[in-house]
């Protein structure tokens, strides 16, 4: 009766329910009750029928009983007094010989959620715990949890808790699992159920009896257990091994969660576990259920953070199906970007290219920015694709391409020529503010290379009155200023017009203020303006920083198998709509986490004496003890974030190049060395990072192996344990350009005195001589093996401390040496 109003429906139903003819005919009675429930689930307020429904409760027809209970449980809270009438029927049903009736009554008695009825419920619940039928015990156990949550502040009955603990040994597995659940809720204040050794082993032994849902629950609760010995731990792990590759993804995920929490101290075991779940996770990725696919993809992204090579061979599994929904396609593209390497890059780009013209604009834009991410390491191929897409002259594609190019050019300035060529004519297709902002930024920064830049800007400036986007106006101001600096003759007039408009007529405060600021800046003279506007450019060396160190598993283990990973994507897509790259940090993702872990990871002091003792035999000849006499220790704290590193590194470079020798700071030192290690550029980033971390050197970023030029950035803090207690910070870069450099020059620049000493020449300072000798000897020893490849080491130290720097260098060479000898 959907066409009747709510009140009419209720009146109609009440008449039918109180009709004796209906009541005597079981089928008609049941059908009337069905109508009540249907009205209820459609949202009609049928609470007025409560008293009639209470009467309908007293029946032998189980179907009718169940229907009435559905009604009563929904409306009991509104009619506490009338609910008292039901209790009698329910208590009578609890004595019924049919276990189904008993469990039904018990469950609904506790579902009424009325604190006033508590006293009537406790007795049947106690009896229920000892019932013969398992289905009644299941209900009774959870009933106690419901009862406790109704009155959370009431005293916990110790007898009940004991009884529940003893029911963990119940033959029925569901009763056992329900006991766990109930105890978790009742003892919430004490931190949940006490998981000791006997309980753990009891639960593990009976794990196979439960169905998958029960297994998940048990595995979740066991995460709190800490094995007492390593043997016990491995016993547990081998018991769980079969569940790790379970075909049920929920069991697999719960088991992996437990593995990760048990093995938090054993990274190697955890990594092996991640390898084991690869198969089941990939299977879940191909599941029929799209929602399950999505969940599996999100969790694979987590795993890849610690084990980037995990899915390398299976990249084809992440190709998008054409009928898949956009949210799965976008996740798959995020995964694909992580999996790119020299062998599959052609295939991957071909595949991504196909998505760029997807009907769904979000998918198309995601594909374009994925190509941009790959462009950081394979810029030529990607730029070719991106430039090709511009020819389509479609609004959303052009916008995404220009934004992607802006981001790409910031990290790979060497692409700027290609990008500048491609920019011609884009402005006609661009409509949205994000795309135009990106175009303006590019025009401002590379204005001298784009011949048509002033004309493009003129169109923008002529249309500034009708411009609605605040961001575009701000960007336009900055761009015009920048272009004025490099092409004054063409731009002067329009800059004047723009400033005049913005200061005199522009309604928006921010734009007006910025225009005023620029106006006053111009008054200060052209040098000042230049200093402000052209201050910061990206460092070309950052272009190769695509490799990021794999994170420790503990970083994400706590969010594994929760809803967290599924929700992150929505945040990430926002980052595509951002302003110019100067205002955002480079690689925003890993930094904060990284510094956190470094802080909490144990900082072990490695005295350099022991390191030098373990030097390779061929280098052990006659190192003068003086250079490393004072025990030097390295430490990773305070941690340095990648941004901070980048800032310091660039700052030093600027000082170095601009101010030259006259105004050099006292407390800063820069040193360049060429040392020869044949195999280092070919070793995996993981092993390099692990080796460095052993001696407390943190690698921040590196290029993937086998790419040229190959680079690693690293830092550490040095501290002399002995006489001088001050701490210095060392930033370092390892560079391998690939040319077999025959020059064999050992160059060392000490900035404050601007000394460049050619290897083998006469030395002025004693310590330097030792370092040179040291470096040369290594070179000589390497040459014996017929290798001519050189690794350039650049170190920057602050504050200056020659001894510490030298000590550090010796530790570094030792580590590299050990590593390269392992490779052979």
């Amino acid at each position: 009766m959907p066409y009747l109003g709510g009140e009419d429906t209720v009146r109609e139903l009440r008449r039918a329910l109180s009709n004796p003819n209906v009541q005597s005919d079981q089928l008609r009675y049941r059908n009337t009750i069905l109508k009540v429930i249907r009205a209820m689930s459609q949202g009609v307020d049928v609470s007025g029928l409560f008293s009639d429904m209470v009467k309908a409760c007293a029946t032998v027809d189980i179907v009718q009983k169940k229907l009435v209970y559905v009604f009563l449980c929904s409306y009991a809270a509104l009619n506490p007094e009338l609910s008292l009438l039901v209790i009698n029927t329910l208590r009578k049903d609890c004595q019924d010989p049919n276990p189904m009736v008993r469990s039904l009554a018990l469950r609904n008695m506790t579902n009424l959620r009325l604190p006033s009825l508590m006293e009537y419920v406790e007795q049947p619940l106690t009896a229920g715990l000892r019932d013969r039928a398992a289905c009644v015990r299941r209900v009774a156990v959870l009933g106690w949890a419901k009862l406790h949550n109704l009155q959370p502040n009431s005293e916990i009955d110790a007898a009940v808790v004991n009884e529940l603990y003893s029911l963990l040994r119940d033959p029925d597995p569901v009763v056992m699992v329900n006991c766990l659940r109930a105890l978790e809720e009742i003892l919430k204040e004490e931190g949940g159920i006490a998981i000791n050794k006997p309980i753990t082993h009891h639960l593990l032994n009976r794990l196979k009896e439960s169905d998958v849902w029960g297994q998940c629950e048990v595995l979740r609760i066991l995460q709190r257990y800490r094995p007492q010995s390593e043997d016990e731990l491995f016993d547990i792990l081998s018991l769980l091994d079969a569940s790790l590759v379970s075909p049920h993804p929920q069991v697999m995920a719960a088991t992996l969660s437990l593995f990760l929490s048990l093995c938090s101290g054993l990274p190697a075991v955890s990594l092996a576990a991640l390898e084991r779940v690869r198969g089941p996770l990939l299977a879940a990725c191909g599941s029929v259920s799209r929602e399950l696919r999505f969940t599996a993809l999100c969790h694979i992204q987590l795993l890849l953070r610690s084990l980037p090579g995990l899915m390398g061979a299976h990249y084809k599994r992440f190709f998008c199906g054409y009928a898949e929904p956009a949210y799965i396609k976008q996740r798959k593209m995020q995964v694909l970007v992580e999996l790119v390497n020299d062998d599959n890059v052609t295939m991957l780009l071909d595949e991504l290219k196909g998505y760029c013209t997807d009907v769904n604009t979000d998918t198309a834009q995601a594909a374009i920015s994925a190509i941009g991410r790959i462009g950081r390491s394979y810029s030529d191929r990607c730029l070719e694709i991106l430039t090709g897409l511009l020819a389509l002259k479609q609004e959303h594609i052009t916008s995404a391409v220009v934004q992607t190019m802006r981001d790409l050019v910031w990290v790979c300035p060497q692409c700027s020529d290609t990008v500048c060529l491609a920019l011609e004519g884009c402005e006609e297709t661009l409509q949205d503010s994000q795309g135009r902002q990106a175009l303006l930024w590019l025009l401002g920064v590379y204005g001298e290379q784009v011949s048509s830049a002033p004309y493009t800007l003129e169109v923008f400036i002529d249309g500034v009155r009708s411009e609605v986007s605040l961001g575009v106006k701000m960007e336009l101001l900055t761009t015009t200023m920048r272009l004025f600096l490099c092409r004054p003759a063409e731009t002067q007039d329009m800059l004047g017009r723009l400033l005049h408009y913005c200061i005199e007529e522009e309604p928006d405060m921010c734009v007006r203020d910025q225009a005023l600021l620029y106006y006053r800046l111009l008054h200060c003279g052209i040098e000042e303006t230049q200093k402000v506007l052209q201050g910061r450019r990206s460092d070309p060396s950052l272009g190769v920083l695509i490799g990021r160190p794999s994170e420790p598993i503990s970083q994400w283990a706590c969010s594994f198998n929760t809803l967290e990973p599924l929700r992150q994507g929505t945040v990430e897509t926002d980052s595509t709509s951002r302003g110019s790259p100067e205002h955002v940090t480079f690689e925003p993702k890993p930094n904060t986490d990284l510094s956190d872990t470094l802080n909490c990871s144990q900082v072990e002091k490695v005295p350099s004496g022991s390191v030098s003792a373990s030097r390779c035999t061929d280098a052990s000849a006659d190192v003068p003890a003086s250079s490393i006499a004072a025990p030097l220790s390295l430490s990773l704290s305070p941690a340095l974030s990648p941004e901070e590193f980048e800032r310091l590194w660039l700052q030093r470079q600027v000082l170095h190049s601009e101010q030259g020798d006259e105004k050099m700071e006292e407390d800063y030192m820069c040193l360049e060395e060429q040392i020869q290690f044949p195999a280092i550029p070919h070793c995996s980033p993981q092993s390099l990072q692990a080796a460095m971390q052993l001696v407390n050197i943190q690698t921040l970023a590196f290029t993937p192996p086998h790419t040229l030029p190959w680079r690693v950035y690293l830092y550490t803090h040095t501290q002399h344990a002995g006489d001088s207690p001050h701490i210095t910070l060392i930033l370092g870069e390892l560079l391998y350009t690939g040319e077999a450099n025959q020059r064999a020059v050992l160059k060392k620049g000490v900035c404050d005195r601007e000394l460049a000493v050619e290897g083998g020449e006469e030395e002025q300072v004693e310590e330097e001589e030792e370092a040179t000798a040291d470096g040369q000897r290594i070179r000589v020893s390497m040459r014996k093996e017929g290798e001519e490849e050189e690794l350039k080491v650049t170190l920057k130290q602050q504050p200056r401390d020659d001894k510490a720097l030298k000590g550090f260098l010796s530790i570094l060479t030792t580590v590299l040496h050990t590593l390269s000898s392992e490779r052979k």
Binding site: M100, R107, G321, E324, R567
Partner: protein, 441 residues
Amino acid sequence: MISQVFILSSKGDHLIYKDFRGEAGSDVVGIFYEKVTALTGDQPPVVMSHKDLHFVHVRQGGLYWVATTTADSSPFTIIEFLNRFTALVKDYCGSLSEKSVQMNFALIYELLDEVVDYGYIQTTSSDVLKNFIQTEAVSSRPFSLFDLSNVGLFGAETQQSKVAPSSAATRPIQSSREQGGKSEIFVDVIERMSVVIGTNGVLMKADVEGEIRVKCYMPSCSEMRIGLNEEFSIGKSQLRGYGAAVRVDECSFHQAVRLDEFDSHRILRLCPSQGEQTVMQYQLSDDLPSAPPFRLFPTIERDSGGRLLMYLKLRCDLPPKSAAINVCATIPVPKGSVSLSQELSSPDQSAELKLQNRAVDWKIPRFPGGTQLSALFKLEVPGLSSASMLEVGPVGLSFELPKLTVTGLQIRFLRLSPIQPGPSQRWVRYVTHSDSYTIRI
């Protein structure tokens, strides 16, 4: 832990609402629907949150199946539960649709009551549930003359009765109890292909995901033995028999399956419970035992009048006895295409320009193996440039291959023991679907 479960129709009607823990009001249903419809795109994210409540939902049968939960619960568990719950509803009601859910709401409430208590999943096994579920399903299938045509004249076996009617597997599992329905068992081998074929016709990617599903309508069935091909092998190294090997890469079984005869004779033993269950799942990657079922030979050019000409030849490489049905090729076309004129090789085919999807859909109802079809499409695209050709392709193909498995997996025999009293029928069906079949141009 699940706080509430509700089912919404695509229009936002409340079909089922059950609150297990009483922690949040029923107004969250409205909030969920607002959130779902406010999002753009073809499907909103699986997880959404409102304050500290999280909605996890799946879409099946055109309905939203939603659970609300806390942040720390396992998404795998909740999603698998919702999927299992939809499967149970399908088993008990016969089919999944707004109508069947509306008609059987009492049954669904009863199911929910038994399956979840206080937000904790109790059991989802149909063996256990059948003892508790009392309500009978209301079948929404209208009376059809087709059902009568299956009855042979004077009880004689007709040709038709050797083929299971397509509707046979969409009936409630429990109706047999009262109506004395047939005791039947269906074993389906279902495979899904995802294939990418490069511009030069080279197979770039070929994955097959397969499963054996058993749907059982027998009230009591003690043991069933399913014999697979003797040559069936798992992994690369293991080869069996002398015939053409049937190989899969990975294989997993339902926990109720006993594998003691699997190694020697490739026999699966299990006691099927009522309803539908997946007995075995397997995958094959990067390797097909035979040629991919379809090849496309496209010629695409611009004519002098600024029209786009697409001449497509589609060849079906299946064995001559088999045929593909419901084939649909989706060809993306440049933006701004206005109209389509077509020349197709037979009248039963059809083609249509879908402006919303920016694609031409070419539909072929039946496509026998070993044959070739061709089509000529002329598209009117104002302002067609050479760059627009980039937008043409890759072509997506969707199809169904009945009575065929691409891996070659076959059921050798299906034995029930002890022999069922009374008439029982065993059906084995094979089908291969296209999960994603992409041909680059």
